[in-house]
Point group: C2
């Protein structure tokens, strides 16, 4: 079991993150039987080597353990990685050390699902060998029992067994609803926006996200354009990528209210629970919700966002939280607080991973599609051995065993830093 | 300007952090003139190499800049380091990347103070070349303007000019009040507790902190013992190092209320603002305050702790927040919210650094000693070129130019990982 180093794949456009160079810290766990598990965490480029360094530091806690030993006390194993007596000082459960924990645990979940020959979303289904008790035993309830106890979690899962089979059948047939972020990045010309939006409408997309926050006049023009293109009945969301302070966020978004956005995403600092609560309260009369989560560091922060009514849409991330284990805690808390989960995706492979989590949420936790949808960004899927399948703006459930984390050997080789061909060429230019 | 690698110095006793191996990521910035600045961030051992890796990643943003260029726009430089378009994904402003930022900025503050030939606490004093405007220009107000604007900060500093000279004279004569954590670590025998407490009383200590949280019966016996030793009028504080969930914290601390602790420190997860608020509310009728901060990741979290009345004592840390720059923001917010600052110290060199901040707080911000004291732990000072001077349980203001960050060349050489003698011996045993 060893980290594989970093891999840099592509470029795209963001507001707070102005020059991303989409990368991952990619982990492969090896077993004596020859079975492998793949995992990663997503980064924006520079600093990926820090995450890789953290993965190497965590490796000592993983190497030598059997899969059975890990999954028979998955909560204990999560705690071992996230609460090491010395390394927890570097977090706890946040930033680099938690991103590395996510990469390692993602690989373990991938390995487990492969060993059981199920896609991850089915691994956690009761009829696939697991039961609600086993699911709950993967979750560390430390620091969240004031919002959700183990007993309450178990109760939610047991109740949701009713109708589970129909929901699974429905998903296999129809897929999980998605929205697209690929049409309206900042920096696209109006012509590009129009063309991308026209194409997306033709492909059946009904929910569109627009990046905002750089310039109000520009935002107004672009939101008006998109709203005109999609008509009054389709869904528009806006995303500021942490651009504003609290009062600025309220003012700016109020100015865009005429375009009827469903939510404003990341209006301010991802750590600012009370700030998001103030923004939520101010925008509620305008019918605009607050969405956040892609940089929410752990379940303790999500707990407070829910307690404080600071968000109306929970955007879990498959690579920032501590893998499936911690995401289960958030799905269960969101259900208790009656707030819909609309995962963050995009980056490198985030769509591939998070589809498992949101399918599990629908089938085994929430049982609802109301106000729910999963982000989709149309890039970098070509590097994966089991890329997402989108049909009519829906994620079609993955069929291959595993957590869909594995990248093509050729992609890894080509993009591995610093010895891959892409980097050698970059150096020569 | 280059990172110097890690240095592991000693061992001590904690509750959540069960086996610390006190270390630092030590940074030296070199200038063309030959002047050097020293800085570090404290760690508990394993994972120090991750922080060193992050320091190396940040180095590219520092090397080649002149000191004048940095300090003439210190806010901009802080933002450059803390909000790099790619690396901020690894935080932002939290965990490994922020610890590394602290180490680098501490070295820059040390360099600046040496260049000006003042100890750091005086560098920020108006009569030493700086004025309130210059102090405020070091602070990044991003994400905190809903709690404190630049104008309000300036107003606080201008008002505090009155009586500044007397307060500085008073500090030079009497020093800043301290409390000791060296008497009652978990794991000490009752005999050890008695002996250490007797010695401390003889040396003039009047404020004592006891570590709790492992076993209630044991805590009760030890708190009773210490309270009996020190009498009813001296101050007792208790520290749980994040042991509990919210309701457990309330129950446990209520059981210890008879020993009249001034505060309970770190009752639960350092991220749990609302949890600390609930604990504060429950313990207020018992006359027990809540103290936290040594693992509070940034000014945005401190802002919310203050907004939510979630703490009654602000424990700033010189190596977790983004150096003097971010600590200034917290001192100013704490003053506005009328909450006393009682810095965290101990570890490696935290006493050496934080004394500058708390002296500045008294002289230039709060002007008050009411309910205020600075932690003191009696170890590892022998490794510093300008170790703290404690006289009659007070920190005597440092006189040497700089931020007191420099370690003895011989200590660095001996403890540097992995080539120092200490590590070679360790390997051979």
């Amino acid at each position: 079991r060893k980290p594989r180093g970093e891999s840099r794949l592509s470029r795209s456009h963001r507001t707070a993150h102005t020059d991303p160079d989409y990368s991952t810290a990619y982990v492969v766990v090896h077993t004596d039987s020859g079975l492998q598990g793949f995992g990663f965490t997503f980064t924006l480029g520079k600093g990926t080597e820090i995450v890789v360094c953290a993965v190497r530091a965590l490796a000592g806690l993983v190497v030598g353990k059997s899969l059975q030993e890990i999954v028979s006390d998955f909560r204990g194993f999560y705690r071992l990685l996230s609460s090491d007596g010395q390394m927890r000082w570097l977090g706890p459960e946040k930033g680099v050390i938690h991103l590395a924990t996510a990469a390692v645990l993602n690989a373990v979940w991938d390995l487990w699902a492969r060993a059981e020959a199920f896609p991850s979303f089915r691994l956690t289904l009761p009829d696939s060998g697991s039961d609600p008790k086993q699911i709950v035993s993967c979750v560390d309830f430390r620091y969240i029992t004031d919002a959700l106890t183990e007993e309450e979690a178990l109760d939610i899962l047991v109740k949701a067994q009713e109708g589970k089979q129909q929901r699974e059948d429905q998903m296999l047939k129809e897929g999980y609803p998605a929205y697209t972020t690929s049409c309206a990045w900042i920096g696209y010309s109006d012509e590009q926006l129009k063309q991308l939006c026209t194409d997306a409408l033709k492909s059946g997309w009904t929910k569109f996200k627009v990046k905002v926050g750089a310039d109000l006049e520009d935002d107004t023009r672009r939101c008006r354009l998109i709203r005109q293109m999609i008509g009054p009945d389709k869904t528009l969301m806006i995303d500021a990528n942490q651009r504003w302070d609290v009062s600025e966020a309220i003012g700016w978004v109020s100015s865009l209210a005429e375009f009827k956005p469903l939510w404003i995403e990341e209006p301010t600092c991802p750590d600012d629970i009370l700030g998001h609560a103030a923004i939520s309260k101010a925008l509620a009369p305008l019918g605009i919700g607050v969405a956040t989560g892609e940089q929410c560091q752990n379940r303790v922060m999500f707990k407070q966002f829910l307690q404080a009514s600071a968000l109306q849409f929970v955007q879990i991330d498959s690579c920032r939280l501590g893998s499936v284990n911690e995401n289960l805690a958030v799905l269960l808390m969101a259900h208790k607080f009656k707030v819909p989960v609309c995962p963050h995706a995009g980056g490198v492979g985030l769509c591939e991973l998070v589809q498992h989590l949101i399918l599990f949420d629908y089938i085994c936790v929430s049982g609802s599609l109301s106000n729910r949808m999963c982000e989709y960004v149309d890039h970098l899927h070509e590097h994966f051995t089991s890329p997402v399948v989108i049909h009519d703006a829906h994620y079609m459930p993955p069929k291959d065993p595993g957590y869909s984390c594995e990248m093509l050997e050729s992609s890894v080789k080509k993009h591995q830093y610093p010895e891959g061909d892409v980097w050698k060429q970059h150096k020569n230019n």
